[in-house]
């Protein structure tokens, strides 16, 4: 049964996208965006009842990739990570990312617009035809874009507030502590 499901899923990913028209849509202010957070970007939070929060360094990208809640859920966003290749090949071979290394946060588009962070929120669906292994199609894919180059002080401010405004959708404290301890044990 499991194999049959995988075959159906594979075939639908292969043929389903061919006739799909994923036009770019405006993202309304009441939408939410999901953002993946690698465990290396989690810190203790002294200012809220949460024990941990994403580090401002988790939002260091001129074009911050997110998933729009109209076409995704936190769980879907997390699962998609495991279908992506890491950007760097190891011994000439592509490797898939491990979604167990990541958690998911959300933030409200309205908060980004209202606070005048000079950031745009743009729908940016990813549709590959033919399907590419390691680069999954993603209708929910969206970008938070802003003038960050040449305006570093402002960029530091935006990163700080994205860190404060985001809320955990998927976070496992036990798993984080285990991953963090493993990483820190590798210190020189």
């Amino acid at each position: 049964m499991g194999i049959l499901k995988q075959i159906i899923s594979f075939l639908s990913s292969l043929f389903g996208s061919r006739n799909t028209n994923w036009r770019v849509e405006p993202i309304p202010a009441n939408a939410y965006l999901f953002r993946r957070i690698h465990f290396g970007y989690v810190i203790e939070d002294k200012q809220s009842s949460n024990n941990f929060r994403p580090n401002p360094s988790a939002f260091k990208d001129n074009e911050l990739s997110c998933d729009w809640n109209k076409y995704s859920t936190p769980q879907k966003s997390l699962e998609l990570i495991g279908k992506e290749h890491k950007p760097n090949k190891k011994n000439g071979k592509s490797e898939f990312k491990d979604f167990n290394d990541f958690f998911i946060v959300s933030f409200h588009v309205k908060q980004i617009i209202d606070n005048n962070y000079q950031q745009e929120v743009l729908h940016n669906p990813l549709l590959y035809n033919p399907v590419q292994t390691g680069s999954p199609n993603n209708r929910a894919h969206s970008l938070v874009k802003g003038e960050k180059e040449g305006n570093e002080a402002e960029e530091v401010k935006v990163r700080f507030w994205l860190s404060k405004l985001s809320k955990w959708e998927i976070f496992d404290e036990t798993r984080f502590k285990m991953l963090d301890a493993k990483r820190k044990a590798q210190r020189p």
Binding site: F102, A153, W161, K184
Partner: protein, 198 residues
């Protein structure tokens, strides 16, 4: 003898154990807290370099007064950063250059000592974090205030900062850029707001 993993930081109290591990009397006689590359027979050069940078940091952090020992602990906790390889976030992050890490640590030490010496105030320990472009973030936080400093990954000694004096009021904030090679009095005055609660 196989070289052990560097999970144990050598200290004056465990020097003899370290000397035993390396079977090297010079190391013990030098009475230093971290073996220098010359002591590490058979060790690959890369690790020797990492240890060498560790020597500099440890010597500098030795200057910290006892009341700032929490800052020394935060620095030691951040030592893993220099061992991160490219793609450490599975998303293309670059390795943190050791000189940028040292620059960030020196910044923390210099300002912690400056505020302590000039104002008799003890700062909270910052959270020291790697950033995917090879820079370092330093985040000082109390219950109400936050100050984020980004030590740029560049030849110039540049850092950019953003601070907020009331986390519930975004308008009560400040930002700008500073050089990291001098202690600037105006920045020390900002940092006074990030005291350790007694």
């Amino acid at each position: 003898m196989p070289i052990p993993a560097f999970s144990i930081q050598p200290t004056p109290s465990n020097l003899s154990k370290w000397a035993e591990i390396y079977n090297n009397n010079d190391f013990l006689e030098d009475k230093i807290c971290m073996p220098q590359p010359k002591h590490l027979k058979g060790l690959e050069k890369k690790n020797a370099r990492l240890l060498h940078s560790g020597v500099e940091i440890l010597k500098k952090s030795d200057q910290l007064p006892l009341r700032l020992s929490h800052i020394e602990i935060a620095i030691k906790d951040a030592n893993y950063i220099v061992s991160l390889e490219d793609d450490w976030d599975s998303d293309g992050a670059i390795k943190i250059p050791s000189q940028i890490f040292n620059r960030a640590i020196n910044f923390v030490i210099d300002y912690s000592i400056s505020v302590f010496t000039n104002y008799n105030l003890v700062l909270v320990a910052p959270i020291i974090s790697p950033v995917k472009d090879g820079s370092i973030d330093l985040l000082w936080e109390t219950n109400e205030n936050s100050l984020l400093v980004n030590i740029k990954n560049s030849f110039a000694n540049d850092a950019f900062y953003y601070g907020v004096l009331d986390i519930r009021n975004q308008k009560n904030d400040f930002n700008g850029n500073i050089k990291t090679d001098n202690i600037l009095s105006f920045f020390s005055i900002w940092l006074k707001e990030y005291q350790l609660e007694s």
